[in-house]
């Protein structure tokens, strides 16, 4: 019986599959939480109290800010109300013009108001406006 050699396309050895699986396992282990999470932060009683103090102060500070803001809004509303009521007494014509809705005026400006950023733009203010 004569042997005939045949050329085949070279295939991967059987161990390649195992290597592939190993690679997958390594990649998965890299992204698992347990490998990325830091150790628990354990504070001593003294530091925990200091932390609590800071947190408390911050929350109180925030509450104070909020209260101030709300009070200002309330005052603004009251001020507007007072002004309009006074106008009603003095000049009914102006009062009517003020209280009838007018869509043109409430439209937000075309260029818009610029949102504040952390650093100013290179051109801080545009001094020339385009004539309409």
């Amino acid at each position: 019986m004569s042997k005939v050699f045949v050329r085949f396309k070279r295939t991967q050895p059987a161990t390649a599959a195992i290597l592939h699986a190993q690679k997958m396992a390594t990649q998965l282990s890299v992204i698992t939480a347990s490998r990325k999470a830091p150790r628990l932060l354990k504070l001593r009683p003294e530091d925990l109290i200091r932390h609590q103090t800071v947190t408390k102060a911050w929350s109180l500070f925030q509450a104070e800010e909020r209260a101030e803001q709300e009070a200002q809004l309330r005052n603004q509303y009251q001020s507007t109300l007072d002004a309009v009521e006074l106008l009603q007494k003095i000049s009914p014509r102006l009062y009517k013009s003020v209280t009838t809705p007018d869509n043109n005026i409430t439209v937000f400006p075309r260029g818009g108001l610029r949102t504040p950023t952390e650093y100013p733009p290179t051109i801080v203010w545009r001094y020339q406006i385009k004539p309409n």
Binding site: P38, Q72, T80, I90, S91, P116, W125
Partner: protein, 269 residues
Amino acid sequence: MIRSGIRTMASVASKENTKVINSGLILSRIPIVTPDLTEFEKKYYNYQSELEKRLMWTFPYYFYFRKGTLAERRFLKAQKYPVSKQPGVWYPKGIPDIRQNRERRSKQDVILPKEQEDINESLEKISRPVVPNPRTTKADETGDLTSLERKLSRTLYLLLKNKTGEWEFPTFQLKEDDALLHLNAETGLRTLGGKNINTWTVSKTPVAAYENNNGSDITFFIKSHILGGKFDLQENDTYSNFAWLTKDEVKNHIKTDYFNKVDCLLSKV
């Protein structure tokens, strides 16, 4: 309010001519940069960010830098590596606990590799380093009150100095019979400060009323923002000077009762 107005119209009609009505304008320039942080806020944010760094998961650099690339090599080179653990060695600060190049007991500092810094490079070059503009401007240094570029982090209000030497918000008398408050204010502003100004009046409703001269003279304030252009004081009979001022400066410039009226309308920021 409208309904009640109609009801009382007849009864007050006779009084209409006895008082002089002015329309005042609170013209503001809104902040250009974010508000300045107080010392407390700054330190609190610093503390929180330090805590976050300590508690954050290890930075997955392999997600951002492909293996074997130049960028990865540059990034890895920039990092500071923690003390590694060796068997049989005494570590006075505790045995290192290292996973993925990070000491798990302390914070991780991710250091970005520094780009080549050359500020003089031309603006066209896209890869030039980002250098932010300063938050203080020339106007701050010179103390120019008329500049719109001063105090970028605060809201500025336009104040005018009248011939008697008193500072006030721009005030214009309603002369025509059919004049409207906000329109009067807007036209008044343009006759005073030139045409080169772009403003946006938020509403035609007055936000406050101020009675002076024993109540014979009433000013209704209209709120408006300056969007572009500039206020350039023209030759006129009533006002001699102008200034863009923050709330605390406004308080120092105007009368107390006048300020109390507009106190709640001015922004703290």
